[in-house]
Symmetry: C2
Subunit: 371 residues, 2 copies
């Protein structure tokens, strides 16, 4: 049963399902908060449970550098280390290697780079990424890929070829077992033929799930949605589909409508640290003077549940102005709860066959008033 | 019944009691964490409840400057503003005016100073301190005093005279009611005759509680304990006695043994931000390499309860090295829980007539291994 994906309902191309994992079921669509360094920034794991988080992401690149996968393994693996007993997904390290480091050399074997922490020279290959992720012990692990700028055809072509070669090597290096599932990543930038070629190859590896990589890294929203339009029909129905790094509330509407099941993004916690909060009436800057004496909770809808709702906007503004840690915590709770609730609402709407109505109403209110 | 102080048991000079307040009973001895800007740094109020905090301190000086007492009052007072429904004590602003600001002028009427936030010129007087504290709405408020360096006799003499004059004016300005109790502050540095003179005068105002101010600001531990030795017998038995700004675990032993009932200190949260943690075996630096692969919880005693106990020292070290907000939160929980537990243990020992035994065992272990 582990990693079986059950489709519960569809509404157009949108899907509601359940992904079974050794650490519990993930109802999909699902938004996963990101615990970069084995902690979702400012949020204790028991609060994640309270917020109905059903999947947490952690970063292979960061954990490999610090504290190192050997230590995490010695401490009983990621679940035990970070005291999050629900499902965990680790990325491959590929994205960070290309975005955070000074790269010395990319070759067909792997990538040599310098650590952003201490400048030490390191190397990641498909095989070492698999070994690191196995040691970390997440439920779902990702194939090591190359994520290029999405609109430079020549670079994207090379990255697709390399990604395929690396994916096959990851598959080889990671014998499937019931404890850890390998997902493959479809690359191809904004190019329909490359996405098609990539979707076909990656599926041929017969993996437990498939991700769309290389989006939300420089293309326009229209290009992102169009890429989803022509890529998703090429992906199998009986496997979960994961859109990496996307978390804007409006993007979630568009991607779920097109058939995506899983999302992750740092946006809820990153925005919180900058004093920004999601509301159904759009994103707001909590430091804005108009909240100075606002006695209302952050989200005006009574159905919305989060501990952050106990506090007034006036108090939250005071915390952010005074740079109090409690402010980052409460805004992080709000923003994660908002995205999880939003995705749960969409799941319910799919089950009830009214997704278009939900997203239209949501987008009108969310975008209408924030623009 | 409000602000009645019940003595439950004594053990030598040490006392166990209950202070009744409009927001609940405070079992004494009691350690109060400090919420400087209407938040105990990094700790949500629901966690304070879980840690059995029975009193929280907030700072008049800080809240007067930001967000201002008018706003707090408009938002329903401090309890409602910070969502802490237990007892709150506010200090008078005097200590911060003297320690944090560039003072322009002290005169018998009050103090003119510059805000440490924006440099604006401000003035505090006994009357304005009372008005601010009334607006903030804490259960217990403190008389506006002058806290001098404790060993300069000439300065201390002047500060004592001024403190008495100001205390009488505070008493006059604050008509006692059942909602808010005014505590007086005994000054006098390390000088026995000045402490005696101050204790006598402040008691003559017939207040609901009495504090010892002007300690833990530059004297040695021996001088602090000696001052308590000769000051406490001069203070009434039927009122709570509050030692301001003291929170070192060994100082708590010494002061409770000598008859103190209430403490406050920023030390648990300040230490946490610097990566230091209280344990029964002494204070430790969580970043120390010896904890790198330590699978134990921070406190080895199984009876010790705190959510922070769910995490390994190895993980806590990782969080502190990686500067993760969760690390500050978990160490703050540990340190507050430690002081509250320690004081609760002493209360139980007083009730059972074995305080000397408890403190001897505690100090041997706490100081013995940390030196």
């Amino acid at each position: 049963m582990a990693f079986e994906f059950e489709l519960i309902a569809t509404d157009g191309r949108a899907r509601a399902g359940i992904l079974h994992t050794p650490h519990g079921d993930i109802p999909t669509p699902c938004f996963a908060p990101v615990g970069t360094q084995a902690t979702v920034k400012a949020v204790p794991p028991r609060d994640l449970t309270e917020l109905n988080a059903s999947l947490v992401l952690a970063n292979t690149y960061h954990l490999h550098l610090r504290p190192g996968e050997d230590l995490v393994q010695q401490m009983g693996g990621l679940h035990e280390f970070m005291q999050w007993n629900g499902p965990i997904l680790t990325d491959s390290g590929g994205f960070q290697v290309f975005s955070l480091t000074q790269i010395n050399k990319i070759d067909d074997e792997g990538v040599t780079f310098r650590s952003h922490i201490d400048g030490s020279q390191r190397r990641l290959t498909p095989e070492s990424s698999m070994a690191i992720q196995q040691a970390l012990g997440a439920d779902i692990i990702m194939a090591f890929d190359q994520c290029p700028p999405p609109k430079d055809r020549e670079t994207v072509e090379k990255a697709v070829a390399r990604t395929h070669n690396w994916a096959a090597r990851c598959r080889e290096a990671h014998p499937y077992d019931d404890k850890q599932a390998l997902f493959g990543i479809v690359q191809g930038g904004i190019f329909q033929d490359l996405r098609a070629q990539s979707a076909e190859f990656i599926q041929s590896l017969d993996l437990k799930g498939y991700a769309i990589g290389g989006l939300a890294v420089g293309e326009s929203k229209a290009e992102q949605y169009e890429t989803l339009d022509f890529t998703l029909p090429l992906m199998p129905n009986n496997r979960p589909r994961y859109l990496m790094g996307v978390g804007d509330p409006d993007d979630l509407c568009e991607a779920i409508t097109r058939g995506i099941d899983i999302f992750d993004c740092v946006i809820p916690t990153r925005l919180a640290r900058h004093g920004a909060a999601f509301t159904f009436d759009g994103r707001i800057n909590m430091k804005n003077a108009r909240f100075k004496d606002d006695p209302n909770p952050l989200i005006l809808d009574e159905a919305f549940k989060s501990y952050s709702q106990n506090f007034s906007r006036a108090y939250l503004r005071h915390l952010m102005i005074a740079k109090e840690l409690l402010g980052y915590y409460l805004l992080s709770l709000n923003n994660i709860a908002f995205l999880i609730t939003h995705v749960q609402n969409m799941r319910q709407a799919i089950i009830e066959g009214r997704l278009a109505e939900y997203t239209q109403t949501f987008l009108q209110r969310y975008l209408g008033r924030s623009q």
